[in-house]
């Protein structure tokens, strides 16, 4: 009874975006389709990170590890075994969430700063293993020439594949954040102590959230390997974890699709800036500064600000 109007506008907006997404590659140059694919993949990674950061209040500095694990799962299975693409791709979230279960088991027992530091430590560990285990992972050279089925070889075809995968993920994630479990996630962010006094086993819930989030990060990593036909240690680095947080911050952590917007801002800006200016990091630094100081709710927070000022 409270949500009718809002619901209709959400469905309307989603349909509009969907049609736009399907129509765009027809008119856009190949290069922009390429960028759009990258944005959508990063957006999914951001939303996975935001499940922890924005919805559950667990700031992770190690989610790049799960992105990397997803990426290397697809890369390794396709280059070293003869499994079909779809099998390798489906294994990405499974492997990533399996590691999420092990790493999360230790991390969710800690809170705030200590949680963040332990995720960072595990993240660096995963990165170091990938980087050093040259015989298996290719080390610094990464995996190159990951074979893809010919049906996905064109930029447009892969774009459509990415859109389909991400839409399915978004529907599942949307259902999760609006389910009783999702409400409990928000409650954990707001007041973990009260949650325990409502009879909820906090550790178990936090672990479940960690595992789910790792799985979706794994899917995005897997997509990126297929997208670039390669997997590199950078995918699992702490810089990647930081990128996830930046995407969340720019887009707005209190919004479901915020990270998708954050990814768009980041990718486009990086393209434009690097065309005219050598030092992207300086621009990124200033951008982050401005967001933190003036737009703590990210781009999606602008709407609220305008509404309040009227």
């Amino acid at each position: 009874m409270f949500f009718g109007k809002k619901r209709r506008s959400i469905i309307g907006l989603s349909l509009f975006i969907l049609l736009l997404a399907l129509f765009l590659p027809v008119v856009l140059p190949k290069f922009l389709t390429f960028l759009l694919t990258e944005i959508i993949i990063f957006g999914l990674f951001g939303i996975a990170v935001n499940l922890l950061v924005g919805y559950s209040g667990m700031v992770t500095f190690g989610h790049g590890a799960f992105y990397g694990l997803g990426a290397y799962t697809v890369g390794l299975f396709l280059t070293k075994t003869g499994v079909p693409f779809i099998v390798a791709f489906l294994l990405a979230p499974i492997i990533a969430s399996f590691f999420g279960l092990i790493i999360g088991f230790f991390c969710v027992r800690l809170t705030q700063f200590y949680f963040a530091m332990l995720t960072l430590a595990f993240g660096m560990l995963i990165w170091a293993i990938i980087y050093k285990w040259e015989k298996f992972t290719g080390g610094d050279n990464g995996l190159v020439g990951v074979p893809l089925p010919s049906i996905l070889s064109s930029t447009q075809a892969f774009y459509y594949f990415t859109v389909c995968v991400v839409i399915i993920c978004l529907i599942v994630l949307w259902r999760i954040v609006n389910s009783p479990f999702g409400y409990t996630m928000r409650a954990i962010r707001e007041n973990p102590e009260r949650v325990r006094f409502l009879g909820i086993n906090l550790t178990r819930y936090k672990l479940a959230i960690f595992v789910i989030s790792s799985g979706f990060a794994g899917i995005s990593g897997g997509l990126y390997t297929a997208f670039t036909k390669g997997a590199f240690p950078d995918y699992a680095s702490w810089a990647k974890s930081g990128e996830g947080l930046i995407i969340v911050l720019i887009g707005g952590m209190s919004s479901f699709i915020g990270p998708l917007i954050g990814a768009a801002v980041l990718v486009f800006l990086q393209q434009i800036v690097t065309m005219i200016f050598q030092y992207w990091s300086i621009v990124l630094g200033i951008l982050l500064l401005l967001v933190v100081l003036f737009l703590p709710e990210g781009v999606m927070g602008i709407k609220e600000k305008v509404r309040f000022q009227r």
């Binding site: 409270f2 009783p180 409400y183 409650a187 007041n191 009260r194 325990r196 409502l198 009879g199």
Partner: protein, 249 residues
């Protein structure tokens, strides 16, 4: 002879050299209101923290409905039917009042692990009836953090009542409220306790309030229970007069 719902045996807890709770024993009978009074730092809150599982006691036992619940995790104690409120209100500031009560109900009915149905489909009427019973039905969509202090207290009560407890521990339920508001909150609590059939154990500073509604009063002083009994007994107890009532009057 009324049945004991909660028995506390020789409960003790020290923080460093400070004996916050020093071998306290008492029992709370089923039904009605019992209270623990005592000056600041007497150990009332620590006692509540020991009963509700927030701290593990150094010694002694807590028996709830015949089961030993000493030192078991908070969420299990809660599942056995003990709910509590805090001296500093404990709610979900950036969620609405409606969502706060809903989350409590979802937990009680063990629906919190449901990942794929919409939470909005659950318990709509029950949430509204609980909000109604604590006088918040017209503020159901307000963010909890934006409610007035009194309304936040009402919301916290709504959330704990939604747990359908057998025993409700209230740590200074009227702290920071106006005298008028205190009376309304306590009346509300008493009527809820009759309607939902739970026992109340609370701590309080306001003596007139305590004496008017309690069936049993325990007096704590420097970690020890120095007197217990009906309001009449406490009023006439010489030690209590000296250490406590004497100070305030």
């Amino acid at each position: 002879m009324p049945e004991a719902i909660l028995e506390v045996h020789n409960l003790g807890k020290a923080f460093g050299g400070l004996l916050a709770v020093d071998s306290v024993s008492f029992q709370v009978n089923q039904g009605g209101c019992s209270s623990i009074i005592g000056p600041n730092g007497a150990g009332k809150t620590t006692l509540f923290n020991l009963i509700s599982g927030y701290f593990s006691p150094d010694s002694g036992k807590v028996i709830f409905q015949g089961n030993d619940i000493t030192g078991i995790p908070i969420e299990l104690i809660c599942r056995k039917g003990i709910a509590r409120s805090f001296q500093l209100i404990s709610i979900f500031p950036r969620l609405t009042a409606y969502e706060g009560v809903l989350i409590s109900l979802l937990s009680r009915e063990r629906k919190s692990w449901n990942l794929l149905s919409s939470a909005k489909k659950f318990f709509g009427e029950e949430v509204m009836s609980i909000l109604e019973s604590v006088g918040l039905s017209d503020r159901s969509m307000v963010l909890s953090g934006d409610l007035s202090l009194g309304d936040q207290k009402r919301l916290e009560l709504g959330m704990v009542v939604a747990q359908d407890p057998t025993l409700l521990l209230l740590d200074e339920p009227t702290a920071g409220m106006s005298p008028v508001e205190r009376v309304t909150i306590m009346e509300l609590l008493q009527s809820l306790s009759r309607k939902k059939d739970f026992t109340i154990l609370f701590t309080e500073h306001d003596m007139s309030l305590v004496f008017s509604i309690s069936d049993w009063i325990g007096v704590m002083h420097m970690g020890k229970l120095i007197a217990e009994g009906s309001p009449e007994v406490i009023k006439n107890n010489e030690i209590v007069k000296k250490v406590y009532l004497g100070e305030t009057e």
